[in-house]
Amino acid sequence: MNILILALLSGLVFGLGLSLSQMVNPDKVLGFLDISGNWDPSLALVMAGALTIAMPGFHWIRRQPKPLLDNEFHLTPKNQLDKPLLFGAALFGTGWGMTGYCPGPAFANLALGNQEALYMVISIYAGFSAAGFFSRKN
């Protein structure tokens, strides 16, 4: 039960952060990606602000024996660069540039009654399903 409350709280703070930084606004994101246009560097500072907190925080937390409410840290053992990682990231960036939405802001926009975001989230789930099918075949 405590785990669920903390996960909810974490999500809530994430939603506030996306809203305060205006990353819920896809035009703001496209303004960052449009480097040769009227460039808006805000997204870079969102990442800088997040990493300034997260980098020392993760470093310290990883030296703890285990999380406060679980028995282990859930991290992928993968370390190799491979084709699915880079090809997948390239496709994701293409879709991000076409829309201005990455998954977090797209999902958060559902709370704002944004019909466009509803189509976006449905399309994301179609992509998830196709990727699941694709990776089962290979």
Partner: protein, 139 residues
């Protein structure tokens, strides 16, 4: 650069950083939103519940902000639906294949200095920049 909002960007980013630390410190999980979204379909039991709780919190956080500052949020209209549908599909397909998105790779993975996440972030940033350049300036 008249749209640049450095203070709210840094502070909002700091909140996102705090959010990822809460999740990792208390329950040992990475705040990767593409994985949480796809996990709603594929995971079960406790593995599904914490994802559902986080995503519910994400909706509540965004809704609280809209309630407090309704004038700060303007929804986009008349954006081509074909771009949303195709782009959304690529976002879903690409984040599954590439094991993460802006939150999981770009923030958590980078904060952990993961080699995979650093290269994934450089890759999706580059293809995002290229795509917007092609859409806005090449055609």
């Amino acid at each position: 650069m008249q749209n640049f909002t450095p203070v709210s960007a840094l502070l909002g980013g700091a909140l996102i950083g705090i959010s990822t630390l809460i999740l990792f410190w208390f329950i040992g999980r990475i705040a990767g939103i593409s994985s949480m979204m796809s996990g709603l379909l594929t995971a079960s039991g406790k593995n599904r519940q914490w994802r559902l709780a986080f995503l519910s919190g994400l909706l509540i956080g965004a809704a609280i902000w809209q309630w407090l500052y309704p004038e700060s949020i303007s929804l986009r209209h008349d954006y081509p639906l074909s771009l949303i549908l195709c782009g959304g599909f690529l976002v879903g397909f690409g984040t599954r294949l590439g094991s993460g998105c802006t939150s999981g790779h770009g923030i958590c993975g980078m904060a952990l200095l993961s080699r995979r996440s650093i290269f994934a972030t450089l890759t999706f940033m580059s293809s995002g920049l290229l795509t917007v350049y092609l859409i806005r300036h090449a055609f």
